[in-house]
């Protein structure tokens, strides 16, 4: 188990998904990928395909329109997988969380209403340093927790 856990922590391949963001968090995430921050130091790779990815980075408020897509993307990723919610909107609905009574009619109150989330990165938008720090803390937390592997995915609704 030690070797597998080590490999998992040392080679996190990421997938970026935008659930309706204003592009603020996306630009910060793209800045994180630039040579200045060079996340390949940690072995991170941005992959295009959810089949290759280990960590799903989600930005933006989760709209009702995108619900089916985000759940499908999550289900397409192989175990073990993690999800990181980036930015206030993705964590709780952000400015859309209290339009009148309760959350906005077309926005969920956070990504964790739909799929399990392993780490939250607050900020509007979070800085690239914060994103790297959040993912690094997620990887650190993988050291301790025993992850269920090969368990069938619950259809998250």
């Amino acid at each position: 188990m030690g070797l597998r856990n080590w490999a998992l922590r040392k080679s996190p391949w990421i997938l970026h998904f935008n659930t309706g963001s204003c592009n603020g968090c996306d630009i910060e995430l793209v800045a994180t990928l630039t040579p200045r921050y060079d996340i390949e130091r940690f072995g991170m790779y941005l992959r295009g395909s959810p089949r290759h990815a280990d960590i799903l980075l989600v930005t933006g408020p989760v709209t009702r329109q995108v619900r089916d897509r985000i759940v499908r993307i999550y289900n397409q990723m192989p175990f073990p997988k993690s999800v990181v919610a980036i930015g206030s909107c993705c964590m709780s609905g952000g400015v859309f969380s209290n339009c009148g009574k309760g959350p906005c009619y077309n926005v969920y109150a956070g990504l964790d209403q739909l799929i399990p989330v392993n780490a939250y990165i607050p900020g509007c938008p979070p800085k690239p340093e914060a994103i790297i720090d959040g993912v690094a803390k997620l990887l650190e937390s993988m050291k301790a927790t025993k992850r269920k592997e090969g368990t069938p995915d619950e259809p998250a609704q």
Partner: protein
């Protein structure tokens, strides 16, 4: 004891174990160079200077869940990664590492080398086609298009080296270069063509349309995950060694170099590694200074410039031989 020695040399040195270890080392070297040219550090925290990064990637992918899409052609989809690794390990036995000839050497083994590269492309097509995903099929089609464009200049450049050395065995070509490398002479043009075509063969950056991440997700690799992806990545790294080793054997004198009889078993593999690292340096440099070309640019470049150039190269070589 003869068969035991043969088995050790096939499985351990200079056979499968060495090649797999080198494939991890070369991927790390390639990534570090690529990062360095982009003013980055590259893999840094996995082992000393990130040298274990490809190994960690491999172990991680091996331990991940293995998915097969519902509509995929199960048998082909699952067998392609294994066949890819087997094909490349077989082809690598022809590459000379410890002396003038590889583990296997027979008349016309250079033809087998060409066949192995072509067959690899066919496997890529099968991989993409059996996934039954639209991105995979587009990627597979592009891979075949690339095969049609770049396989011919690759073969012609190798033919140039064969004509110059007057041999169709890799060991013969290497032995002929014990004095002067083929690189110093008319095959220099062939070497340049070989490198460009090899870049396309390996689907690296100026010619990475088959897996263009920004257009078609991950191309023919899209549906592969876990163990199968690990094997495909391993096979592609082995192909990198194979092509670098072939370039070293055809143009850079293979593993031969200044040494004594006693030191040869140690020095020749080191020469081999040094020469293949030099070839990968050139390939990585090409990868980092170019952007991806369009498909029509790729086809017209291959057919309008590269193939005529490789014919010219053969002509120059023939005239040189006749004089």
């Amino acid at each position: 004891m003869d068969w035991a020695l043969g088995l050790v040399s096939l499985l351990v040195f200079p056979g499968f174990a060495l090649m797999i270890a080198l494939s991890f080392l070369y991927e790390w070297y390639d990534r570090k160079l690529y990062a360095g040219i982009q003013m980055r550090r590259g893999p840094l925290y996995t082992g000393p200077m990130g040298i274990l990064q490809p190994f960690a990637d491999f172990i991680k992918l091996m331990s991940k869940e293995d998915l097969t899409p519902r509509h995929a052609d199960r048998r082909v989809f699952n067998s392609v990664p294994v066949i890819m690794v087997a094909l490349m390990l077989t082809a690598l036995t022809m590459i000379p590492v410890t002396g003038a000839s590889g583990l296997l050497s027979f008349s016309g083994d250079i033809v087998f080398a060409i066949v192995a590269m072509t067959f690899f492309c066919v496997l890529v097509f099968l991989a993409g086609f059996s996934s039954m995903s639209r991105y995979s099929i587009i990627g597979a089609e592009r891979a075949v298009l690339q095969l049609l464009g770049f396989e011919i200049p690759l073969m012609l450049s190798m033919v140039g080296a064969c004509i110059f050395s007057g041999s169709v065995t890799i060991s013969g070509i290497v032995a002929q270069q014990s004095g002067l490398w083929n690189l110093i002479g008319p095959p220099l043009l062939g070497f340049a063509i070989f490198l460009i075509a090899a870049q396309a063969e390996l689907e690296r950056v100026p010619f990475d349309m088959p897996e263009a991440e920004q257009e078609i997700v991950a191309g023919w690799l899209t549906e592969y995950s876990g163990r199968k992806l690990a094997l495909i990545r391993l096979a592609r790294n082995l192909e990198l060694i194979f092509i670098a080793g072939l370039a070293a054997a055809l143009y850079l004198g293979g593993p031969l170099g200044p040494s004594t009889d006693a030191l040869a078993p140690v020095l020749f593999p080191l020469y081999f590694i040094a020469k293949t690292l030099f070839v990968i340096l050139l390939l990585a440099f090409m990868k980092s200074i170019f952007a991806r070309v369009r498909i029509d640019q790729m086809v017209s470049f291959a057919w309008r410039y590269l193939i005529p150039l490789s014919l010219v190269q053969i002509m120059i070589t023939l005239i040189w031989r006749a004089l």
